[in-house]
């Protein structure tokens, strides 16, 4: 306790921290990475368990019999879809009405900020059809959602068929306590957003407690895949994943997460690398901030949601649609039993396999070890700035005596780099039309290339900053600037990691070394190269390749580059369509922060 009040011991501690600063930083970095990699090791993780009482002890029987009929309905739907050349609204309305649902349609239209080349859409017009099964004697206060997207082409017909089959079966049961909304949405997430965002004709059935989105494109499947990652890396309550896993076990359906089956040989190297792969896929997906299924937008409304995808691979063991129907029936009956919203289990977790999870308490230290490096560096700089510390009676160093390097020399780079960030955020959309007129590119290319252009132009910043600065930068000057930048980065990454751990961790992995080593006195060319390699844009590029590698779909550099461009355009679109935060975070905060370090490197 006397540690802080005893000037001698305080001095000793500080001198230890400054003397051993670099080794401690290196050890922290290593320990952080090692801790993170250890998270995938099964003995270090917890088994999943059902926390919610209302779903745990109650037994339900699954009796859904009509898989074949659902497939016939799916084929009928497919035929009508072809005939209508899109969503067969009238047929769906009639079919849902015949099944005793209250049917509504919702028209929506949306103009994208620039054309989406992946999905080939710009002016989007569509219709959602949803039928509400009103629970008997319930006052319309609570609802569950089951949705299936109506996609162009031949996919997902079985999902719609099964949805209608389940609607018919559910309608004849008496035990429902919550309304069930059966939704067929067009234009995937855009339709979904129209449905959830409240407007006079949006999907309403009281407060929605849980939602599942079903994707199914074949008559038989080998496994069911669970997708959890939603907008901005939000995850549903872990109990929803537990529920899915419990019913897969009960009914005997192979279930996967990130498309990876779980393995039992955790003690072998291949078993470990398998769970590392699974966990890294989740980290990459979460870090991207994109909704990875149609459920992704529900999470913002505090509605627990997940997507379930049927996968048909070359395995021997096949599961028919009746069994999937029974799986969903079981899940909905248990959700129907809920008295409160799902809240008992974790909201922040990583899953190295479907049966194991890493909670926030376990993964946060990994990030903490990286973040502490920034604080150590800041302490080091602070001490350096304050040396020689004039010894006064009570051991407090007098700051007035240190010659301050002027507010301008710190403020100017801060302001200029943030202005560059603002340019990066606004210019790509603003100048797309001009770019299309001037250069032979499409709108999408224009947006992406403008973004890259602005990003690269920002690298010329140090020279411009110095032109504005009065006089030469002093030795003290860059130290103060670096102190500010390091603390700024620490706060920035800390906040990001709290909201989206994966994004925060990946950014910390690359930016923390930069922040730690950069000074004006390191070899310029080599350091500049390392700095660029570790900049946010290159991190994204590597992430794209790494992600492909994890998915076991390696790409050539050419393909990877194209993928990279499309990822940028998707990120910008996600922001403007659904409010994803990754693009503004990178453009307005992370990139300017990185520019500060770039500035320090070229300090004159």
């Amino acid at each position: 306790m006397g540690l802080l009040s005893d000037p001698n011991r305080r001095r000793a501690l500080i001198s230890l921290l400054t003397r051993l600063n670099s080794p401690i930083c290196v050890v922290c970095y290593m320990a952080g990475v090692a801790w993170f990699m250890g998270l995938a090791f099964e003995p270090f993780t917890l088994r999943t368990y059902m926390s919610e009482n209302a779903m745990g002890s109650t037994m339900v029987e699954e009796r859904f019999p009509a898989g074949e009929r659902a497939l016939t309905t799916g084929r009928e739907f497919s035929a009508h879809k072809k005939k209508a050349g899109g969503m067969p609204v009238d047929w769906l309305v009639k079919t849902m009405q015949a099944r005793g649902l209250e049917v509504f349609t919702q028209r929506f239209s949306r103009k994208l900020p620039f054309p989406d080349e992946n999905k080939e859409r710009y002016m989007v017009k569509g219709t959602n059809v949803y039928g509400i099964l009103r629970a008997p004697r319930a006052p319309r206060t609570e609802a569950l959602v089951l949705s299936a997207p109506c996609t162009p082409g031949d996919s997902n017909n079985q999902a719609v068929g099964l949805l209608l089959g389940l609607a018919q079966y559910f309608r004849n049961q008496i035990y429902w306590a919550k309304d069930i909304i059966f939704l067929v949405n067009e234009h995937d997430l855009i339709g979904m957003q129209a449905c959830i965002t409240f407007s006079p004709d949006s999907c309403r059935g009281g407060s929605i407690q849980a939602a599942l989105s079903l994707e199914l494109s074949s008559d038989v499947i080998t496994s069911m895949d669970l997708v959890l990652e939603g907008l901005n890396g939000q995850l549903p309550n872990l109990d929803l994943a537990n529920l899915f896993y419990a019913f897969c076990q009960k009914i005997g359906v192979l279930c996967t997460i990130q498309g990876k089956l779980q393995r039992n040989d955790w003690d072998s190297v291949s078993g470990y690398s398998h769970s590392v792969q699974t966990m890294m896929l989740m980290v990459m997906k979460q870090a991207s901030g994109r909704p990875w299924g149609d459920h992704g937008l529900f999470l913002r409304y505090h509605i627990e949601a997940a997507s379930i995808k049927g996968i048909n691979s070359f395995r021997q063991y096949k599961t028919d649609v009746t069994t999937i129907g029974r799986l969903l029936e079981g899940m909905y009956r248990k959700l129907n039993n809920l008295l409160e919203r799902l809240h008992q289990s974790y909201f922040f977790y990583l899953m190295p396999s479907l049966s194991h999870f890493v909670s926030i308490g376990y993964y946060m230290p990994a990030f903490g070890l990286l973040a502490v490096i920034l604080l150590l560096r800041a302490l080091d700089l602070w001490v350096q700035l304050a040396t020689p510390p004039p010894r006064t009676e009570d051991g407090i160093t007098d700051k007035e005596q240190v010659s301050s390097p002027g507010v301008l020399s710190v403020l100017t780079p801060l302001v200029i780099s943030h202005l560059t960030g603002v340019a990066l955020y606004t210019l790509p959309i603003q100048f797309q039309e001009m770019a299309v007129e001037q250069f032979p590119v499409s709108e999408t290319e224009a947006v992406v290339l403008t973004a890259i252009g602005v990003y690269t132009a920002g690298l010329a910043l140090p020279h411009n900053t110095h032109r504005l600065l009065s006089g030469e930068g002093t030795e003290q000057g860059w130290r103060v600037l670096k102190l500010v930048a390091v603390l700024y980065l620490a706060v920035l990454l800390g906040c990001t990691a709290l909201i989206n751990f994966s994004l925060g961790f990946i950014l910390a992995l690359t930016l923390v070394p930069v922040a730690a080593f950069v000074t004006p006195h390191v070899p310029k060319v080599l350091s500049a190269f390392i700095l660029v390699i570790l900049s946010p844009a290159c991190t994204l590029l590597f992430s794209v390749f790494f992600f492909q590698e994890l998915q076991e779909l390696p790409v050539s550099f050419q393909e990877g580059w194209l993928l990279y461009l499309s990822v940028i355009s998707q990120g910008i679109l996600d922001h403007f369509l659904y409010g994803s935060l990754v693009y503004p975070l990178i453009a307005l905060l992370v990139y300017p922060c990185w520019l500060l370090f770039w500035n320090i490197l070229f300090w004159k």
């Binding site: 319930a138 004849n172 006079p200 009676e393």
Partner: protein
């Protein structure tokens, strides 16, 4: 026995109580294939509970309610228990609307005890009354307190005679969370003169009534005119029970209904105490028998104007032996011939929802639909919102057809934390063929941790909005009230010829409030202890310690030298 009271008269001279009991059941096959059954039991008694008159001889009128009226100086009492939400879009208007949960509204007499304006007096009576009713109906009406009671200024006018409309004597409360089940049905049935032993009440078996889409039971007490000139008044007790059976759940999808299938009983007799006992079947949509077929057929037809529509009914008079036929039992059967399930377009309906995300603010949207092709009409909107949703009344907007629609009357009473709810009443003109949207933003309050319900993550209920209106009628109303009319058509008094009274309830809302993690106290204790131990400890240490420059301790040689010098008696170095 107080003989000095002038009102007390010799018991022998008391005339026989003039009371009368009627029972009826209306069955309406609905568009959706579901079936709506509405029971009404009406007891009229020419007596005076008021002015200290001690009524001690009861015949048909239930004594428990009679005592309540006289003890609490009740002028009118309306109580309903509803399980489920009436689906106006599929079923049309109900005969007696009611919101999900429990609803209670009472007009008190301007009695001797509460002569002067003393709100406390009425409030005290109201508190006692709700507790007594809670016992009578076996419901949690005792949860009605000042935080969910309002005094609407315009929406709830007395339905019986009397010209007192000072809303200080009115109390209105709803409990949207109240769950209605058999324990509420049994005491309700016990109020009937024949109990559930005879008459229509034998059909009221709970295992069937609660296997339905909608269930609502109510008790209405009001003073009415005995005759056309209204020279004498009498007390009317109406007990109503409305139930909708679901085609899919109870009929296994077969479009065929019978009394036995609906209630698992058939009828064999009327209640012997009833002066009239009838079953009406709504055959308006089925004039030629092309939609459905009713058996046994009856020659008796009756026409009535109900809810602005002239309806035709087949009538079965249970007091006539012939109704029961040779088998001495009546099992009405309705068999559908065609199937249709289109949505209706009721002239007035409403819905409500909460928009926005996050746990800080939100927005309540109330949508009111006027589907009349060319007539606009005014509606009275009543909203009672609990205090923990803090309404930002300056954000109140009313829009119809994209234009601002200024309400002609607004009565707003702000809430007081933990004392009373918000009350908002508005008179809004609904343009023809339009949707009027009322929005108001609110902030979610953070409750004290003991104020949360045992299941805080379920959410908190906000009772239904009430929309009362005179809706333009399709047919001219028959105002000759002396004519014999079925009970279901004579509930709301209606003076205007070309319109009829409708009350619509929106769905209740379920709103999530910011909820703490209730294992938090443990964490807080741990955290606080740590903070106190580490932070406060070291700060306290710094503040209380006096700092001195320490003399550098002398070296070993010097110390030895000093000891020797001390022994020698010379001053130390």
């Amino acid at each position: 026995f107080d003989t000095s009271a002038p009102e007390t008269v010799d018991p022998s001279s008391v005339p026989q109580p003039k009371d009368d009991f009627q029972e009826e059941l209306v069955i309406r096959p609905l568009h959706s294939g579901d079936i709506y059954a509405s029971f009404q039991f009406r007891t009229v008694w020419e007596t005076d509970f008021m002015r200290g008159n001690k009524v001690s001889h009861y015949r048909l009128f239930p004594k428990s309610l009679g005592q309540v009226i006289s003890k609490f100086s009740v002028r009118e009492l309306h109580i309903s228990f509803t399980q489920g939400y009436w689906r106006t879009m599929q079923w049309g208007q109900p005969f007696q609307p009611s919101p999900p949960g429990a609803e209670l509204w009472v007009w008190f007499q301007d009695s001797a005890e509460c002569k002067v304006y003393a709100a406390g007096c009425v409030d005290g009576t109201w508190k006692e009354l709700t507790n007594v009713l809670s016992g009578i109906f076996c419901a949690s009406l005792n949860f009605i307190d000042s935080t969910n009671t309002v005094q609407p200024s315009a929406s709830f006018k007395p339905l019986g005679i009397g010209n007192e409309t000072d809303h200080r004597f009115l109390r209105y409360a709803t409990l949207p969370r109240e769950i209605v089940c058999t324990e509420n049905l049994t005491p309700w049935k016990k109020l009937l003169p024949c109990g559930s032993k005879a008459g229509l009440a034998v059909l009221l078996k709970s295992e069937k009534l609660f296997h339905s889409s909608f269930h609502s039971q109510a008790v209405h007490i009001r003073p009415v005119c005995q005759d056309w000139q209204c020279k004498t008044t009498s007390w009317e007790l109406r007990q109503t029970l409305n139930v909708v059976f679901d085609l899919h759940n109870s009929a296994q999808g077969k479009r065929e209904w019978s009394l036995f299938k609906m209630f698992s009983r058939t009828l064999t007799e009327a209640c012997p105490l009833a002066s009239s006992s009838k079953i009406y079947i709504d055959i308006t949509d089925n004039p030629q028998g092309e939609q459905f077929e009713v058996s046994p057929a009856t020659p008796l037809l009756s026409q009535a104007v109900v809810l602005g529509d002239r309806r035709t009914f087949s009538v079965y008079d249970l007091t006539q032996q012939i109704t029961f036929g040779t088998v001495r039992s009546l099992n009405l059967l309705i068999r559908w011939k065609s199937s249709e399930g289109d949505m209706l377009r009721p002239l007035l309906h409403a819905e409500r929802y909460v928009a926005g995300y996050g746990l800080q603010t939100g927005e309540i949207h109330t949508l009111m639909y006027n589907n009349h092709p060319y007539r606009s009409f005014p509606v009275l909107l009543l909203d009672s919102v609990p205090w923990y949703l803090r309404l930002y009344i300056h954000t109140l907007t009313v829009t119809s057809k994209g234009k601002d629609n200024k309400p002609s009357y607004i009565h707003y009473q702000p809430s007081k934390d933990r004392l009373r709810p918000h009350l908002l009443e508005m008179l809004v003109q609904l343009p023809p063929n339009s949707v009027t949207e009322v929005t108001v933003q609110f902030e979610r309050a953070l409750l004290k941790w003991t104020e949360y319900t045992p299941d805080p993550n379920h959410g908190f209920y906000v009772g239904s909005s009430v929309i009362s209106s005179l809706v333009p009628s399709i047919v001219a109303m028959d105002t000759n009230s002396t004519r014999e009319r079925p009970l279901f058509s004579s509930f709301f008094p209606c003076k205007e010829e070309s319109s009829y009274f409708v009350r619509v309830y929106t769905e209740p809302l379920l709103v999530n409030l910011p909820t703490p993690d209730f294992s938090m106290p443990y964490n807080v204790i741990c955290l606080t202890c740590t903070v106190v131990a580490v932070g406060y400890g070291s700060l306290y240490n710094l503040l209380t310690r006096s700092f001195q420059i320490e003399e550098p301790s002398p070296g070993l040689a010097k110390r030895i030298a000093n000891i020797i010098r001390k022994m020698r008696g010379v001053p130390p170095l």
